[in-house]
Symmetry: C2
């Protein structure tokens, strides 16, 4: 792998290393976490395409909506920006930007973030280039968090956990999931988070059995219900992602045992995570605890995902993933067990790999707790 | 155009009419506004692909992450769902779903909502099909709002306007944009909105000159500054989108004239909108007012966009768009003028086309107002 000269363009150094390793001649970046990491500024994706083409060597080029010109100028972009106005459309700007960089044979795009209409416009501009989904290769630039990034995550988590505690104090039997969710969101912003990491999940009883449940307006929280919160706020773009499950007023012995199986799996994962371990091996540690429990048929998902400027990113803690954990990686450990129509329990922590093991950035207590 | 039999699948009727008109044999839907309109339920997009293939005739098929099985079951889906688990990946489910529908020649996708990795998986499963960006064709099913949809928009707007009034009462000189934005967000949730329509914009002085500004932590609101709010909350998925611009404590004569040019353009557009008028002609009415003002060089964007389950959708109120307005269409009228580094003014209303003209669903006063 050759590291090309990046004189005057130091912010592309890590990206170009990743491109070299993946055999890419150019990448096309869209607003999102990689864009923010490289340019230090958030842009929102909308129906007006904004794409930056970064060649392995030479100056980058950009396709920029005219109305974003002032915002874009704030980036101190090193290459030429081809502006397009609503009334003329964007294809000519794609064509011009494509011709401003050395013609690529292999063009990488962020498959999870670029949308089809943008890729189609790129393909029309560069019909001879092979367009490859290079999501993982490009996102390698964000895989190892700097101390500053970890500090932002800690701040996001601290504020999010404070909002959860505040919310639990206000939960009462008979409240709807939607009502509790509104309380949580208000408490998150009161705690000073800057955005929601994602649309939060507040789900009780049978609804908690759906990993991506939508809060119901019409179900009143009843004694013995599990009550699951999966939520987080952001700080400087970095996203907390925390799940805790409580019980309303009381808990049956069977549900307590169900809960404790998940808690044991979460604890085993937190204790086992360390540098040099593969993501797949860590998933095994966690899932084996669930598989050895009487509730093994309640397993529906892997252990976790990376976390940072994106809420789901590498490394994925999943069987078959041979990636070795390294100090600076941040990911979730979130085992869950589910009984359709009856109960769901998930306990999710945000972990930082250290030199000797892993630290849980989340510290909200995990012992079974009754609320309401 | 033949309307195919839809026995037992009435919810695809409008979609299949749109497909017939666009010459599509099948469409691939991803979670988002069209999905929600058809299935009556919100799903969130994440890194696990969920795609529904709807052929022009016959049963649909779906690619569904195993952990969404319970949520997906709630849709009462008419076809076969091909589940995939994290450890095995999703391509086999794409292949199986593709073979479960009649082989399409022309496959339409939502270019603004489908991501590249999903389209690549579709292409591998259906290499012989031409994959077309059919965003506009598919979204036609949402172009004319039902009375129930309009009621949801009214509710979203009513709550959003209440939150703005509450926020203005708390604005003080010296506050940062970020501080005011946090107040606004809290007031939106206190007013009962269910989600934010989009990340709100709160921008003062020179920052207001960037149409998609990000709130600053460090700029204190000063006398004479313009203060622009572009924001909205949702109700049942329907998105308010409102912009108002105020001045902090005082306003210069020059800035008042600048503001009044925008207000006149907004008023002209609201008065002119009516069934049978083209979107391009309406844009002309609005832009001509700005062009005739002494600030014509401050124009950077078109008049508006459609609004509903998506925050930017058809019809786009833009020169060259020959679409004729029809009763039931909802769109924004949001002229703006900008002086880079100094000031931006935008006034945005949400309009419903009626039988005889157009009604502004937004009613927040537009007269120049001093705050703080």
């Amino acid at each position: 792998m050759t590291i090309p000269p990046t004189d005057g363009q130091p912010r592309y150094r890590a990206l170009r290393e990743a491109m070299g390793a993946a055999g890419l001649d150019a990448v096309a970046l869209v607003p999102g976490p990689n864009f923010r990491r490289i340019f230090g500024r958030a842009f929102h994706q909308n129906e007006r395409p904004l794409v930056v083409l970064v060649p392995l060597e030479g100056a980058p080029a950009a396709v920029v909506p005219a109305l974003e010109e002032a915002s874009f100028a704030g980036l101190g972009f090193e290459g030429e920006a081809f502006l397009w106005r609503d009334e003329e459309g964007y294809q000519a700007a794609f064509d011009a930007a494509a011709h401003a960089i050395p013609a690529p044979n292999r063009l990488g795009v962020e498959g999870q973030h670029m949308r089809v209409f943008e890729q189609f416009a790129l393909h029309r501009a560069l019909p001879a280039a092979a367009c490859l989904d290079a999501q993982a290769a490009i996102s390698r630039i964000r895989l190892l968090k700097t101390p500053e990034e970890v500090a932002h995550l800690r701040e996001a988590i601290r504020r999010s956990e404070a909002a959860l505690e505040e919310t639990l104090g206000a939960v009462r039997l008979g409240m709807s999931e939607a009502e509790i969710e509104r309380l949580l969101v208000r408490n998150l912003f009161d705690a000073g988070v800057q955005e929601l990491s994602f649309a939060p999940i507040v789900a009780a009883a049978g609804n908690a059995a759906e990993p991506h449940a939508v809060a119901r307006q019409d179900y009143p929280l009843a004694p013995g219900d599990a009550l699951l919160f999966d939520f987080g706020g952001t700080w400087q773009g970095y996203r907390a992602d925390i799940t805790r499950t409580f019980f309303a007023a009381e808990v049956s012995d069977a549900d307590r045992a169900f809960y404790e199986s998940v808690r044991a799996a979460n604890a085993a994962g937190r204790a086992a995570a360390r540098p040099g371990q593969s993501c797949g091996a860590l998933d095994d540690v966690v899932l084996r605890v669930l598989e050895a429990s009487p509730h093994a048929d309640g397993i529906v998902h892997k252990t976790g995902h990376g976390l940072g400027l994106d809420v789901h990113e590498d490394p994925y803690i999943q069987r078959g993933n041979e990636t070795l954990l390294e100090p600076g990686m941040v990911f979730t450990i979130e085992p869950g067990l589910y009984r359709r129509g009856r109960i769901g329990v998930r306990i999710e922590d945000d972990m930082l790999v250290t030199e000797t093991g892993a630290e849980s950035l989340t510290s909200f207590p995990r012992a079974l707790r009754l609320v309401g």
